[in-house]
């Protein structure tokens, strides 16, 4: 499905396509880019996009954004995801960057934004805590002001790719007497500070994406506070809005559906009675993708007319994640007995994996994608948001 593009926008789309085809690094085309690439490899495409001036489509021009219209941003997102490129680190580009240029002071903008754009600084997100789950406002990590520093103590968890991070943006409690959302501040912490410890969490697919981050008497310069003390919740919510709209994942789902069809056609002959069953299930998911894509295009058209989709963005998180989970489930089923096998992490080409190459990541993808309906605000929470904020229930 396509937007009705003006000839200029169509030319832009062709330019993006050609740029990806000509520049996406071959060494980033590995079976599972999310787990198989080193930090340096992950940054290759980031640096190429930075050089081109395309690294931060969302950002205003004055901070280094390309100054694209909503339509062009959407085209870029669509083309890069259809082509299966690894998106630049969201914690840096989509999350903390916009918070800094929206709520930060000039010194913070000058210090952090160029290094985010260049890929010099890798950011991770210090929101979740062991007791918090989807209830982010229950932050217990404490920051106590001592002169021109905050002293931070606490435990952040599920911190994605913290093992690579130079900086972490944290929600911390600065006013213990205030209720829930009040009393939270938004603090930027250098991961090299004494007292910061990262401990890997291995997930059920065997990979190491997430971590515990322990903060023990970490001294953070007060100049690293974003905006006002105790107003952090406002900035956090702003950031979460950015997180959810990018979760429809149409390009990725479309790509994985194409692969699934290829697997089914290779694995099952058309005379196999299960062939028809698979084709029906695939068609069902394809229609789900089509409907979500049409919804996305409708919202993009509304946004370019200045209408804010607001909490309806939760719809994309719910359906986008459910669709992708179903695709990984069907792919796992499509490879039959070989769904029993799983790659060992860290991944090495020397370890034997049975069956066709296309099936080698099916098990880990199925297992790993269970997280999608949990993180970024569980799908139950997203439904509550729609019930309350959209339906008024």
């Amino acid at each position: 499905m396509e937007l009705n593009l003006s000839s200029e926008d169509a030319a832009f789309r062709d330019e993006v396509r050609a740029f990806i085809a000509g520049n996406y690094p071959a060494e980033m085309r590995v079976p599972n880019p999310e787990t198989d690439l080193s930090k340096e490899q992950m940054l290759l495409w980031h640096r190429i996009l930075h050089q081109k001036g395309w690294i931060a489509p969302l950002w205003p021009k004055e901070y280094g954004g390309p100054g694209w219209s909503i339509t062009r941003r959407f085209i870029f997102e669509q083309e890069t995801s259809r082509a299966g490129t690894l998106p630049p680190l969201a914690f840096s580009i989509t999350m903390v960057g916009p918070v800094i240029y929206t709520f930060g002071n000039d010194a913070q903008k000058q210090k952090f934004l160029p290094r985010i754009l260049s890929g010099e600084d890798w950011w991770c997100q210090g929101y979740s805590e062991p007791g918090s789950g989807s209830d982010l406002a229950s932050v217990r990590t404490k920051a106590v002001r001592e002169g021109d520093h905050y002293v931070v103590n606490g435990h952040k968890t599920w911190t994605t790719l913290a093992q690579h991070a130079d900086w972490i943006f944290c929600l911390v409690r600065t006013d213990p007497s205030a209720k829930a959302q009040a009393g939270i501040s938004f603090l930027l912490i250098d991961m090299k500070s004494p007292g910061v410890t990262v401990r890997p969490i291995i997930t059920i697919d065997g990979s190491h994406e997430v971590n515990d981050v322990f903060l023990e008497d970490v001294r953070v310069p007060a100049e690293n506070l974003i905006g006002e003390e105790n107003k952090g919740w406002t900035y956090a919510k702003f950031l979460l809005g950015n997180e959810r709209t990018s979760m429809a994942g149409i390009g990725r789902s479309t790509r994985y559906l194409g692969r699934l069809k290829h697997i089914v056609k290779t694995e099952l002959g058309e005379d196999d009675p299960m062939f028809g069953e698979f084709i029906k299930e695939i068609a069902r998911v394809e229609l789900d993708v089509l409907a979500l894509e049409a919804t996305e295009l409708r919202i993009v058209a509304q946004m370019s007319r200045g209408i804010d989709p607001g909490p309806a963005a939760s719809l994309f998180k719910i359906r986008g994640t459910e669709i992708f989970q179903r695709i990984t489930d069907l792919t796992h089923q499509a490879i039959g007995n070989y769904g029993l096998a799983i790659r060992e992490h860290p991944v090495s080409a020397n370890r034997f994996m049975p069956g066709q190459d296309y099936g080698h990541t099916a098990s880990e993808k199925y297992l790993n994608s269970r997280k999608l309906s949990i993180y970024g605000g569980s799908n139950e929470i997203q439904r509550n948001i729609i019930a309350k904020a959209v339906l008024g229930l």
Partner: protein, 376 residues
């Protein structure tokens, strides 16, 4: 239809439960899986001493005569504790085949080592292209004097790296998809020209791809009628499904109680998770899924024990229904545990993975739904 266990069956269950409680908690199991071998001979010997390996076999074969209900009891407890030792492969699959289609000489020669725990077995029926169809066999066995010579490849054989002996299906006549012409052979794992490529399974076991390049097998190692392997495997699958469903039920029951407990203890937004109606209803559905799975699994095991007709259709129906139920319970247990459910440290994810594996072994729920429909 609720099964009232006999005193003997109760004794069997409580002795397994006691042993597993003392020797096979989640930490012990984790350590076993992490060893080079990936299973524990010491625990295996203890299972044999408890009589588990002899439990289902007929008394005339030297067994304890417990039949499919004994298997059900064992597998359910193994499912509750995620036991990785190859009981299913050795006793249910290989032992069952030998007892059911083996000659009196073969039963006499092979079963005692299975029943006393001294031999580990597995069954190699699948091939790269076969999916879940027993008739889809390209591996060949050609007669050469007093031997058969086997050539081809077998796929995803769970427990093959651990096994002393394998039962391998190979074609003695007909073309690759014929129902007739598939035969079963007993093959030593260390046979010349039999090559194994090992890999790990999602549920922490070891499996292998087998390559057979003219493996010589004495003619008296033919198991059951020449060319009649598919029927033997189908009956074996019915017993396998009854055992796997019992294991799934054991795993589901742990997941349900863990989730229930967690939802009462875990606080979100100032209240216990379990106070949210959407999660209450989810857990009610998990409860219903388990109840239905228990009932169907008992029904299947009773039918097999009584050798009722249509057992195979019921087996497929049960594999499908219990498979979907187990997957629902497993996925929701992970979901309701939130991030913790995704962590390798917590047991929940390991039950999820065992259930995912059970759903592949001998055919997934969609395959068996189709098979059930075809027989209706």
């Amino acid at each position: 239809m609720d099964i009232q266990l006999t005193e003997e069956q109760e004794l069997l269950r409580s002795s397994i439960q006691r042993f597993l409680r003392e020797q096979y908690d989640f930490d012990a199991r984790r350590k076993i899986v992490a060893t080079d071998e990936g299973w524990s001979r010491k625990h295996w010997s203890a299972f044999a001493e408890l009589g588990l390996c002899a439990a289902p076999f007929q008394e005339s074969s030297g067994g304890l005569g417990g039949g499919s209900l004994a298997t059900m009891i064992v597998m359910q407890e193994f499912g509750r504790n995620l036991v990785v030792e190859p009981y299913f492969e050795t006793v249910v699959l290989a032992g069952g085949l030998i007892e059911n289609v083996g000659s009196p000489e073969q039963r006499e020669a092979l079963l005692p080592d299975i029943m006393d725990g001294s031999a580990i077995w597995t069954l190699a029926w699948a091939e790269g292209q076969s999916r879940y169809d027993f008739n889809n066999v390209a591996t060949t066995a050609r007669r050469q004097g007093d031997k058969f010579v086997l050539s081809g490849a077998k796929a995803a054989v769970i427990g093959a790296p651990w096994a002393d002996k394998l039962i391998i299906s190979a074609r003695t006549s007909g073309s690759p998809r014929d129902r007739d012409g598939v035969s079963l052979f007993v093959v030593d794992q260390h046979s010349a020209n039999l090559h194994l490529q090992d890999f790990k399974t999602i549920d922490g076991r070891r499996a292998a791809e087998l390559t057979l390049m003219d493996v010589q097998v004495p003619a008296d190692r033919l198991l059951g009628a020449e060319g009649g392997g598919v029927a033997a495997l189908e009956a074996c699958r019915d017993r396998a499904i009854a055992a796997l469903c019992a294991e799934a039920v054991g795993a589901m029951s742990v997941l349900n109680s863990a989730t229930l407990e967690y939802s009462k203890a875990r606080k979100q937004f100032g209240v216990a998770l379990g106070t949210f109606q959407v999660l209450q209803h989810r857990m009610v559905d998990m409860f219903i899924a388990l109840e239905e799975a228990v009932s169907l699994t008992q029904h299947l095991n009773l039918s097999l024990a009584a050798r009722e007709p249509n057992g195979s259709k019921l087996a497929s129906g049960t594999k499908s229904k219990v498979g979907y139920a187990a997957r629902f319970v497993a996925e929701q247990a992970v979901q309701l545990h939130g991030g913790m459910g995704m962590s390798d440290e917590l047991n929940v994810g390991h039950y999820f993975k065992r259930i995912s594996s059970i759903n592949i072994q001998f055919g997934d729920p969609a395959y068996h739904l189709m098979r059930y429909a075809q027989q209706s």
